[in-house]
């Protein structure tokens, strides 16, 4: 259908005019509220309190969400919100990774707040259009789009009945519709979900950016936690923002010179060192596929194993040489010299509704290759690219899909579920066709795909209650916690990483802490106190990126040539200073590292108390599946028998000689579970929490976060 017909069928529900503004030191100083139930649109001022306590980005998102919901609110209640916010640094163009949006909502998977960090142009163009955040509430009756014209100062809500739902089609349609011409396409940014988000709980949001060389609307994903499911439940088809004439100084920074200097220094570093370090410009995060395999950390067959001989079929060089277009400036915002948003062009699809079409596949990132590939034992690069494409366009989180599918495959192989339950599908490990069919079923809303789309937490209940499976065994092998599927690293042999996953606010996602090398490989954090310090510093440090609209990758996916000679190489001190310099340049705030950590701690503890308010967030919720901690099955134990036997001898003082594998598993399990309990104690203490994982009142006082509504939630839990 042509674009004019699509547009002519729009029905205007509301038009709202606003004064165009000027950004001051990184802040537009107002936010936009849109309610798609009653079509109310209004502006809200950004207060000094919001800046002081929440900074921006994820901080603003969580603050608005807190005020929108009650402890009773469910993800599909109209009052649940989707808040999209950049942050004060978001939109500068001189430093890599500065175009990020943070998206917050109550998650359909976890029933607690989720935050997801995403690239693409929406966040920066939203700010240049006049708003530090976009807050969406309500539920529309029919499919709507929200359009923000930042050139003229108009916001509209329109019924949009005929456009596609799938991300790659809808992104193209709306970019074409709202751009004046080809050159104007990069001034249009679209947020979409996809058909899969309508029938699963792990729907994602696609954020577009127009690629002028490929002449394709590219997609980045706010993947985790099911925000796309909330989006489609609200009957929102898309959000569009248009702003022309992006320049490098639109944030009206306090000191442009220091930003320029820091940015150019970093660009030179990438130019000189990327090919010697991680090859981010060639293959992005997928450079680590074979590294994870070499260190026995790659999730294989639902995290049973950490390596596999067939990993050579999906190693990064295979993608570089055969699939991923080389030599293109693949940044997902201007100025990202790391350029990791790689893509395979002219990729011919073999299955599904777009079979036979040649498409651009955004990816694979490491998580996709590991989740869709090795974890499901699909060691086929074209299979991974196809699943990656369909996950994106259907708006299905590749991580949750990969981990949930791996779980279902293991259940199938162990006879917990059978062909009758899967609707005739042979869900063995390695079956690409079955994995693809699950996705297509999620898109169509039918079959066993819908069951998998409910996530592991709900599959476990269903398999136990309806099909008589052993709930304890399902708990052990179901790699989810708090309702969220694990991301794609094996954590069995690193206690610190078990905490990096288990002691998070939103659920087991590695964006808080990735400590495996520090802990397991380099043995830099041997004691509980060391691990607790790392599980304090790194989650707080990484939270900070989400407050300012930053990407984590430029921090440590490349490091200065002399980084290894610094006192704390894992922290990449020079890059931390770069960030402090950039924030000073934009906002005029002179922060020290401890100020930085304190800014994060405020928001982190706020989110923690938000989780408690919604019924999770306590010690009991930090319990993790044993598959994340140690060998559940005989095969797993025997695959690393030497390591486990020697650990029993040295650490548990237990002689494994002559013992059965089952006996050894039980002893090792007791030891490891106890270690995790001790780790929880140490980490909670370091974070200023009591032994039930509740922030202490004096800690809130130290953080200047003694807000009455927070105290109300935790005062009886001290």
């Amino acid at each position: 259908m042509d674009i004019i017909t699509l547009k002519n069928n729009h029905k205007l529900l509301k038009e709202y005019k606003y004064e165009l503004g000027k950004i001051d030191k990184g802040y537009a100083n107002r936010t936009l509220y849109v309610n798609v139930s009653d079509n109310n649109i209004m502006e809200k001022p950004v207060t000094q309190m919001m800046k002081d306590k929440f900074v921006g980005g994820k901080g603003f998102g969580l603050w608005y969400l807190w005020n929108a919901v009650t402890s009773e609110t469910k993800w599909n209640d109209p009052e649940n919100e989707i808040v999209i916010a950049g942050g004060p640094v978001c939109g500068i163009t001189q430093y890599a990774g500065t175009g990020k949006s943070l998206v917050c909502s109550l998650s359909p998977l976890t029933d607690i707040p989720i935050d997801s960090n995403v690239g693409g142009f929406f966040g920066p163009l939203l700010k240049f259009s006049g708003f530090d955040a976009l807050e969406i509430q309500g539920k529309a009756e029919k499919d709507v789009i929200v359009y923000i014209d930042g050139n003229t100062g108009v916001v509209t809500i329109e019924e949009a009945p005929l456009e596609a739902v799938d991300g790659h089609v809808l992104g193209e349609q709306l970019t074409e519709m709202y751009a004046d011409n080809e050159a104007d396409k990069r001034n249009v940014a679209v947020v979409t979900a996809g058909t899969g988000a309508e029938h699963s709980r792990f729907g994602l949001l696609n954020f577009t950016f127009y690629d002028p060389r490929r002449k394709v609307t590219r997609l980045k994903q706010a993947g985790r936690g099911g925000i796309g499911t909330v989006f489609r439940d609200k009957k929102i088809k898309a959000l569009i923002v248009k702003f022309s004439n992006v320049k490098g100084d639109l944030n009206n920074p306090f000191d442009q010179a220091i930003i320029n200097k820091t940015g150019i220094k970093y660009h030179k570093e990438i130019h000189d060192l990327d090919s010697k370090q991680n090859n981010m410009r060639k293959i992005g995060t997928a450079n680590i596929i074979e590294v994870m395999d070499a260190y026995d950390l790659l999730p294989v067959m639902n995290y049973q194993y950490g390596m596999h001989p067939d990993t050579q079929n999906i190693k990064s060089t295979v993608f570089i040489e055969k699939y991923i277009t080389q030599g293109v400036q693949d940044g997902c915002w201007y100025g990202c010299s790391m350029a990791c948003a790689k893509a395979a062009d002219n990729f011919e699809l073999k299955t599904g509704p777009y079979k036979g079409q040649k498409v651009t596949v955004d990816g694979p990132e490491y998580e996709n290759a590991a989740g869709l590939g090795s974890n499901c034992a699909i060691f086929d690069p074209e299979g991974i690219l196809e699943l990656n494409f369909y996950c994106d366009t259907y708006a299905i989180d590749t991580i949750s899909f990969g981990t949930a599918t791996a779980f279902a495959m293991e259940c199938y192989e162990r006879g917990i579920i059978n062909k009758e339950i899967t609707g005739g599908m042979e869900l063995n490990f390695g079956n690409f066709e079955a994995a693809a069919e699950l996705l297509h079923q999620m898109s169509r809303g039918e079959g066993f795909g819908v069951t998998v789309g409910q996530g592991i937490n709900r599959m476990k209940k269903l398999f136990a209650e309806k099909y008589g499976a052993d709930p304890d065994f399902l708990f052990d092998i179901g790699m989810e916690q708090k309702g969220l599927e694990y991301s794609e690293y094996g954590s069995k042999e690193s206690l610190a990483q078990q905490g990096g996953y288990g002691l998070t606010n939103k659920g087991p996602q590695h964006d808080e802490a990735w400590l495996i090398f520090m802990d397991m490989v380099n043995n830099q954090i041997p004691t509980f106190e060391d691990k607790a310090e790392a599980l304090h510093y790194f989650p707080m440090f990484r939270t900070w990126f989400g407050l300012y609209g930053l990407c984590k990758l430029p921090w440590n996916d490349i490091v200065p040539a002399d980084n290894k000679y610094t006192s704390e190489p894992a922290k990449v001190p020079e890059h931390v200073q770069n960030y402090l310099d950039v924030v000073y340049g934009v906002t005029g705030k002179k922060l020290s590292v401890s100020d930085m950590i304190k800014e994060s701690e405020r928001v982190y503890n706020f989110q923690k108390i938000f989780c408690i308010r919604m019924g999770k967030g306590l010690r009991a919720n930090d319990r993790t599946p044993y598959r994340s901690m140690g060998p559940v099955t005989k095969e797993e134990y025997e695959s690393r028998q030497e390591r486990y036997d020697s650990q029993l001898k040295e650490k548990v003082v237990y002689d494994p000689e002559g013992k059965s594998t089952e006996e050894k598993i039980a002893v090792l399990r007791k030891y490891r579970e106890n270690q995790y309990e001790l780790l929880m104690d140490a980490v909670y203490k370091r974070r200023g929490w009591n032994s039930n994982a509740v922030p202490k009142l004096e800690h809130l006082k130290y953080l200047d976060m003694e807000l009455p509504e927070l105290i109300e939630v935790i005062k009886d839990l001290q």
């Binding site: 163009t93 001189q94 050159a183 990069r186 002028p212 060389r213 490929r214 992006v246 320049k247 490098g248 100084d249 442009q256 010179a257 320029n260 940015g263 150019i264 220094k265 970093y266 660009h267 030179k268 990438i270 130019h271 277009t325 080389q326 030599g327 293109v328 400036q329 940044g331 201007y334 100025g335 990202c336 010299s337 062009d345 002219n346």
Partner: protein, 143 residues
């Protein structure tokens, strides 16, 4: 392709080239605003100026850098977003930036400087187009 050729050994470091360049394009005598810069390396003069290799063309995220008909690499400042990746990625360190301006600048082989050079250390020359470093899009995407 047209470019400003140089012979470092002929340079007497009078810096007349820097003066004419910055006053022509920025109305001020400031070497930091000159596309050509005269440096010293191991006690010998070193002329730093763009040789129109075109490496920067593929770096620009908005395709603001292109090669014109004469082979000169030019920046369209109207669409430039001021990311300065071209500055950081210039192997010859000849893409310039000054904090008074949000766009970079570079030599466009205009010939002003060579006219004031007293020793002929800089002069307009031509070399084969095959030495261009940018990659045509057709080649990148195998079209």
């Amino acid at each position: 392709m047209r470019y400003l050729a140089k012979e470092d050994s002929k340079c007497i470091q009078c810096k007349a080239c820097e003066e004419i360049c910055s006053t022509t394009y920025f109305k001020v005598n400031d070497r930091n605003k000159s596309c050509i810069q005269i440096n010293e390396k191991d006690g010998m003069p070193e002329i730093n100026v763009c040789d129109q290799c075109g490496e920067c063309i593929d770096i620009c995220p908005v395709m603001a850098i292109t090669r014109d008909k004469k082979g000169i690499v030019r920046i369209n400042k109207k669409i430039c977003v001021g990311c300065f990746m071209c500055v950081g990625f210039c192997s010859k360190l000849s893409m310039r930036q000054h904090d008074d301006h949000i766009e970079p600048f570079k030599c466009i082989a205009c010939d002003m400087c060579s006219k004031v050079c007293p020793t002929g250390a800089i002069y307009i020359s031509e070399r084969d187009d095959s030495e261009a470093l940018e990659m045509p899009l057709e080649k990148i995407f195998n079209k």
